[in-house]
């Protein structure tokens, strides 16, 4: 796929440049003629949407940073000045704040798509792990970004989350004091969070390059989960997938505009319009919605250290998913029992999110524990065992067969034999 380029510069200058830095050929082979499975559905458009959101966040963020003051006494006021007196400052801020949420909506769709269609399976393990790293970097970036307006929820959210590290035996207290730059969340904390909030997106961009590089070695997975075999299975990236991605992105942007311009504070907290005050604790400290499932896991465990371990473990366990899943079949489309467990897992994740927004009392705690158990059981029990017992549906012989309606009927072997003459190898 990548590595060889059919790109021929037409102009003399183009030839001169290409022989010295073959970047146009790289772009051409990666994003123009790159062969994509022809059967990709709209869940595969979220990769492009995520790339757009990263760029959108960096652009709005860089301009916001021109007007923002990272000081405990001035941060809250500087955000209000952006909202009131900077030309279109309100638009930049609402786009950036809601952009973070849109980024996470897209990344969750992207992750669940990978989990359903088995996109983490060989030979895409490194691609998947790079994705988990991007997800972690996104969480760190979003968390530190939410601290910057220096409202009540910024301050107390930062206090709660940084305090988690104190649970680590031995070095916990030292780590926390380095995070704070002092003995509590205060001005040095805000300064270093701002610095890191500006740095991490560029690290994300770097890992995204690796993610796309790792993607372009085997190419995209697809809804059948079977690899592309012949030219009949694929279509060039441009124009087929550029136009499809552009259409999906436009639809996604409508949702983005709806939130950022019509209900810009829906996904935020009213308390964050109250300036940070170390002497007044809000009645409920709740993180942003995209952290709620993990927050619920944290609070489901009565012990602080094990709660923290469970919370970080709930993300870390995704790294080993490629080796936990024992199924030979990649796509959930051909795994009828898996589908049940998968959708339970998805619904369970939503329930965890809702429980994360509730106070940790009464039956909420019990429900959180049940949900947490299922969350981990899906990875540790369901994925390893199901592949051993489940009888999958028969696979089509090829991607082209699945699209043209030849697959599905008869056994995989039979239809494979029938289509073998047309297979180049």
């Amino acid at each position: 796929m990548s590595g060889h380029s059919t790109y021929e510069p037409k102009s003399a200058v183009g030839k001169w440049f290409e022989s010295r830095l073959p970047i146009m050929g790289l772009i051409h082979s990666s994003f123009v003629v790159f062969p994509n499975p022809r059967n990709l559905n709209y869940f595969w458009t979220f990769g492009g949407i995520l790339a757009f959101m990263l760029v959108a966040q960096i652009i709005t963020g860089v301009v916001l940073a021109m007007h923002y003051t990272a000081h405990a006494d001035m941060a809250f006021n500087s955000v209000e000045l952006i909202m009131r007196d900077v030309n279109y400052g309100w638009m930049l801020r609402y786009l950036h704040a809601n952009g973070a949420s849109m980024f996470f909506i897209a990344v969750y769709v992207h992750i669940f798509r990978g989990l359903y269609y088995g996109s983490y399976k060989a030979p895409r393990e490194i691609l998947w792990i790079l994705g988990v790293i991007i997800f972690l970097l996104m969480m760190a970036t979003a968390f530190m970004g939410y601290v910057l307006p220096w409202g009540q929820m910024s301050f107390w959210g930062a206090t709660v989350i940084t305090n988690l590290f104190s649970a680590i035996p031995g070095v916990g207290e030292v780590i926390v004091s380095y995070l704070w730059g002092g003995y509590s969340v205060s001005n040095p904390t805000l300064n270093r969070f701002f610095s890191l909030h500006y740095l991490l997106p560029f690290m994300i961009a770097g890992v995204v390059v690796l993610h796309i590089w790792a993607l372009h070695v085997p190419g995209s997975n697809n809804p059948t989960g079977i690899e592309k075999k012949t030219d009949k299975d694929v279509l060039p990236f441009h124009p087929y997938f550029t136009v499809k991605d552009a259409f999906a992105l436009s639809c996604f942007l409508m949702v983005y505009v709806w939130f950022a311009f019509y209900i810009p504070n829906f996904l935020g907290h009213a308390d964050n319009y109250v300036e940070a005050n170390a002497a007044v604790t809000p009645s409920h400290i709740v993180p942003e919605w995209y952290f709620l499932p993990f927050y619920a896991i944290l609070r489901a465990i009565p012990d602080k250290l094990f709660g923290v371990l469970a919370m970080f473990g709930s993300i870390a366990i995704m790294v080993v998913v490629p080796w936990l899943d024992s199924s030979k079949i990649r796509s959930g489309n051909y795994r009828p029992v898996f589908q049940i467990f998968f959708w339970l897992f998805a619904i369970n994740a939503v329930i965890l999110g809702w429980l994360g927004s509730k106070p940790p009392e009464g039956w909420y705690v019990i429900a959180s524990r049940i949900s947490t158990v299922y969350y981990f059981a899906y990875y540790i029990l369901v994925l390893p065992l199901l592949g051993l017992f489940e009888t999958p549906k028969s696979l089509p012989a090829s991607i082209a067969d699945s699209v043209l309606g030849k697959g599905g009927s008869g056994s995989a072997m039979a239809s494979g034999a029938a289509s073998s003459p047309s297979t180049k190898g």
């Binding site: 006021n77 209000e80 009131r84 969750y108 259409f247 311009f261 209900i263 504070n265 319009y273």
Partner: protein, 285 residues
Amino acid sequence: MKSIKTLIAVVALAGLASGAALAQSHEREIPPRQTWSFSGPFGTYDETQLQRGFKVFHEVCSNCHSMSKVAFRTLAEKGGPGFSPEQVTALAATYKVKDGPNDAGDMFDRPARPADFWPSPFPNKQAAAAANGGAAPPDFSVIAKARTYERGFPWFVFDIFTQYQEQGVDYIAALLPGYEEAPAGEVVPAGKYYNKYFPGNIIAMPPPLQDGAVTYLKDANGKPQAPETVQQYAKDVSAFLMWAAEPHMEQRKEIAFRALVFLLVFAGLLYFTKRKIWANVEGHA
């Protein structure tokens, strides 16, 4: 089957996206929903209501509450109460602000100008607290966005589509006339009051409004523009506070509509372009 799965995915996503449910005290009464000129996708501020609300703020609230992030000049800006620049200049001149140091190195008082921010009634938070029974009155700049009440499931999901986001102003409009006798068994400490909408019900602020306390402008028939009642004052000042918190709301909603129409047309064109491009691919529509 496929459509059911899609439906589950959509519901799951909506649930995830709207998990930002705000948790607050449970015992307090839910503020009744008001009709606001600024709600919904085409909402705009009612200039005369904002002017009335400003009068209530100016004559009553501003004696104790600051509004330090709002500049005088914004009262004359588009999408606001619509005062004339002359009115704003005259209003600002009635306030004194500290300036300096001058060439002699002295701080001095001068009349406020439209470019100045609203002067606070107390020199600092401690003074504000000392003068108000130990509780500093909160700043009013963004208070309409800083207050809310929990909507709960499933209402917060519907709010995405109905764009109901006036919880803060509904709360303020309910709180101001929401004082009543404490129910039997409820002990109200000296110098505090009972308010059925306030979280925890015990509030330090005395009932701020009385019927007839603020005189509204008269219409052609010599009658006040709006009833001079506590309910009406509360509603008008809440609307004014919404404007103070979101002075660019009208422009924001106008841009939203234009952006959505553009995206709808653009997405439509892309959809048909996509169909045309894919038309020659066997097995795809």
